[in-house]
């Protein structure tokens, strides 16, 4: 296991280096180097322009500049943003990253679970109107023009039904009156921590129940599901009641973007799960399970769906890139100030350091997700685990 992890980390590191090399030199090969953007101003005399060029190190050979860039990157220095001068890129990205991570992770988890659960049921009940309508819905969700879909979600939930705020990270009017010392990012980070701890407790509880005898296991699972929820509720209700109002505001703003990304990612997972399930149902071990007189639910969930999950999980690896893309689009439509919106805005105003930084961090995120997906696969498939 450790050998596997080490190998994957090394592979990841090399891939990241290649990724950085490619993007750096693509950027470098553009006609008119980065300095020209700063020095286009005709008021700056040629001598001064040359001085800026030397200051920025642009007179050095590309290879040297590249090495310097890579070196700084691993020291955590991504340069200074042009458009938000003089904020360092690292600071901007660290502020925006959690927001994107929450959006991306919660949408991925929910859509994966929902796609898995509904795909298996749809494959089990084949034929008829449900089959075609569910496929059609899946295809439409998978191919729908994301910006339009996000707008339709806003129209439905924020305008027509008026249940949720239409966009942005928080309600400025509410926060204007917030007491001194309450910062949106602090509240948000605390929200993330509480959810992460609750999830950790839940997972530990589920692992713990594995050791119980088969009769007690059900109760144990139920308890380990419910207790963390109650814990989180109590924490926000009593322990940090002063800021729970503001946390609630952020939460309300979070729902619609998460729902949108979830629905978009759901279509593909559901279709894939259904196809995979249909293939699995023809396997011999399904016939064995039926011959053993197992109840339908056990055959469907324990035998068929568990195996059908494997290709769907692999498919998840391929779809990480597209769900990040979906996230970027959704962030722009909802004015959700995450990494995607940062990347797009930086690209639109040609803020190269920020755009490069956001792009590289997105790349790191993709690589890490791939790693997690690979490790997850090894846990899901004993043929990989024991070989």
């Amino acid at each position: 296991m450790w050998k596997f992890l080490g190998k994957r980390f090394l592979q990841m590191f090399i891939t990241l280096l290649m990724f950085q090399t490619v993007t750096y030199f693509l950027m470098d090969a553009q006609p008119g180097d980065i300095a020209d953007l700063l020095t286009l101003n005709p008021d700056i005399p040629p001598a001064e322009r040359e001085r800026i060029r030397v200051d920025l190190g642009l007179d050095r050979p590309p290879a040297e500049r590249f090495l310097k860039y890579i070196g700084n990157f691993y020291k955590g220095d991504l340069g200074v943003s042009f458009s938000q001068f003089p904020r360092p890129v690292t600071e901007i990205i660290l502020e925006r990253l959690p927001r994107t991570l929450v959006l991306f992770l919660s949408a991925s988890v929910i859509s994966f679970w929902a796609g898995y659960a509904s795909g298996k049921v749809l494959a089990w009940k084949r034929g008829g109107v449900i089959e075609y309508s569910s496929t059609l819905v899946g295809v439409i969700l998978y191919t729908v023009f994301t910006p339009w879909f996000a707008l339709m979600m806003i129209w439905l939930f924020a305008v027509y039904l008026d249940w949720l705020p239409p966009g942005k990270f928080l309600d400025p009017i509410l926060w204007l009156t917030a007491p001194e010392g309450i910062h949106a990012n602090d509240v948000f980070v605390r929200m993330i921590w509480s959810v992460m701890i609750a999830t950790g407790v839940m997972i530990l509880g589920l692992i713990g129940t594995q050791r119980l005898s088969s009769q007690l296991r059900k109760t144990g699972r139920w308890v380990s599901f419910v207790v963390p929820f109650i814990g989180v509720f109590l924490y926000w209700r009593f322990a940090s009641s002063g800021i729970s109002l503001y946390a609630w505001d952020i939460l309300q703003h979070l729902v619609l973007p998460v729902l949108t990304v979830t629905l978009i990612a759901y279509g593909g997972t559901m279709l894939l799960m259904r196809t995979s399930m249909l293939e699995t149902l023809r396997e011999d071990y399904i016939l064995t399970a039926r011959a053993k007189g197992m109840p339908e639910k056990i055959i469907r969930d324990k035998h068929a769906a568990r195996n059908a999950l494997l290709p769907v999980w692999t498919g998840l690896v391929f779809s990480i890139g597209s769900s990040l893309s979906g996230g970027i689009i959704t962030e722009t439509i909802f004015s959700w100030p995450g990494l995607g919106l940062t990347l797009l805005n930086a690209a639109q105003v040609e803020d190269i350091p920020l755009a490069m930084g956001a792009l590289t961090v997105t790349g790191v995120m993709t690589l890490l997700s791939h790693l997690v997906a690979d490790i997850g696969y090894a846990f899901l498939d004993p043929r990989i685990r024991f070989s």
């Binding site: 088969s214 011999d284 011959a291 053993k292 197992m294 339908e296 056990i298 043929r383």
Partner: protein, 323 residues
């Protein structure tokens, strides 16, 4: 309790295909006594496996039992729903499948796959008792109980086949169906497993239906043999009779295609023609186009499956080739 653990009367089953119905099992009647091992033999596509899956009612969506009874311990299971049938599966009638390689779920340990059936059918057993029983079964089929927590892919083909047999025995079934359980294995492993199956069957005094296309294998394990041709049972008798005094021309041809090394020299009879297309079977006796003794009546009327000697059943107008 009668002495017949299984009685099949006039069982007819078909598959609906695009081109029309295929009668894979047509009017089959036989019985199995408690503790008795019978064999079913025939060419591939003659309906052997269809009988097996009908007995467990594991029919695919396009298949249907049209007629007949399947009595397990005197209860007719044909009208039962899938859910009611689940009480009989594995508990009363279990099966060792043809493709043992893939008949275990790759993501669960062998132990778990055996235990789940016991949890379903023997809920009174504690975790401890279950574990002990699995150890016993592993020893019975000749596997090391220490291997029970491993996954199917860690087993060799022969080991997997033994594990599948252990699984089939787990709920002490009254009758076990073995559908070509050794076909995919190499000859030496095949022989060892066959021997084991026979010993277990005698030791546990359990009824067994052994299905194979290989008549030599059938002879080794069964006390009575049924011969199938084109969805019909054409002859059934003791193994001794079938091998030495067959009366149906198809059985006669089948036997002479397996020459005995030590027995008397006989002429090898080869069968002309192909087995019939079940979409459009010939009228009368289905064997008549290939039968050297066929006459007018064979072409027009179907022979009944009746007793010609004590316990020797056959469906033929000219038993023993007598005109």
């Amino acid at each position: 309790m009668t002495e017949n653990v299984l009685e099949v009367n006039d069982l007819t089953m078909h598959y609906m295909t695009r081109k029309g119905p295929v009668f894979a099992v047509d009017g089959v009647t036989f019985h199995v006594k408690r503790g008795e091992a019978i064999g079913l033999v025939g060419e591939s596509g003659c309906g052997k496996t269809s009988i097996a899956i009908s007995l467990l009612k594991l029919l695919p969506n396009n298949a249907k039992i049209l007629n007949g009874e399947i009595k397990i311990n005197d209860v007719d299971t044909v009208p039962l729903s899938d859910k009611e049938m689940n009480k009989y599966r594995w508990k009363n009638i279990s099966m060792v499948f043809q493709a043992a390689m893939n008949s275990m779920n790759p993501v669960y340990s062998v132990e778990e796959q055996i235990a789940e059936a016991m949890r379903e059918h023997m809920p009174h057993l504690s975790d401890q008792e279950m574990s002990e029983k699995i150890d016993y079964l592993f020893n019975l089929v000749g596997l090391d109980p220490a291997l029970k927590t491993q996954y199917p892919h860690q087993y060799s083909g022969g080991m997997r086949q033994r594990a599948v047999i252990a699984m089939a025995l787990s709920c002490d079934p009254d009758i076990i169906i073995a559908d070509e359980p050794t076909t995919a294995l190499d000859v030496i492993v095949q022989d060892a497993i066959l021997k084991r199956i026979r010993e277990i069957q005698e030791e546990l005094n359990m009824a067994m239906i052994y299905i194979s296309h290989d008549i030599a294998v059938i002879a080794e394990v069964s006390q009575r043999v049924g011969v199938m041709y084109a969805g019909k049972l054409v002859e059934m008798s003791s193994t001794e009779d079938i091998f030495h005094h067959p009366i149906h021309p198809y059985t006669m041809a089948l036997m002479s295609s397996f020459p005995s090394i030590v027995g008397e020299k006989t002429e090898l009879v080869t069968l002309a023609g192909e087995p019939p297309d079940l979409l459009n079977p010939p009228a009368g006796c289905r064997f008549h186009p290939r039968c050297p003794y066929a006459t007018e009546i064979c072409r027009e009327q179907e022979p009944d499956f009746k007793e010609h000697a004590v316990g020797h059943y056959a469906a033929c107008w000219h038993p023993g080739g007598v005109k």
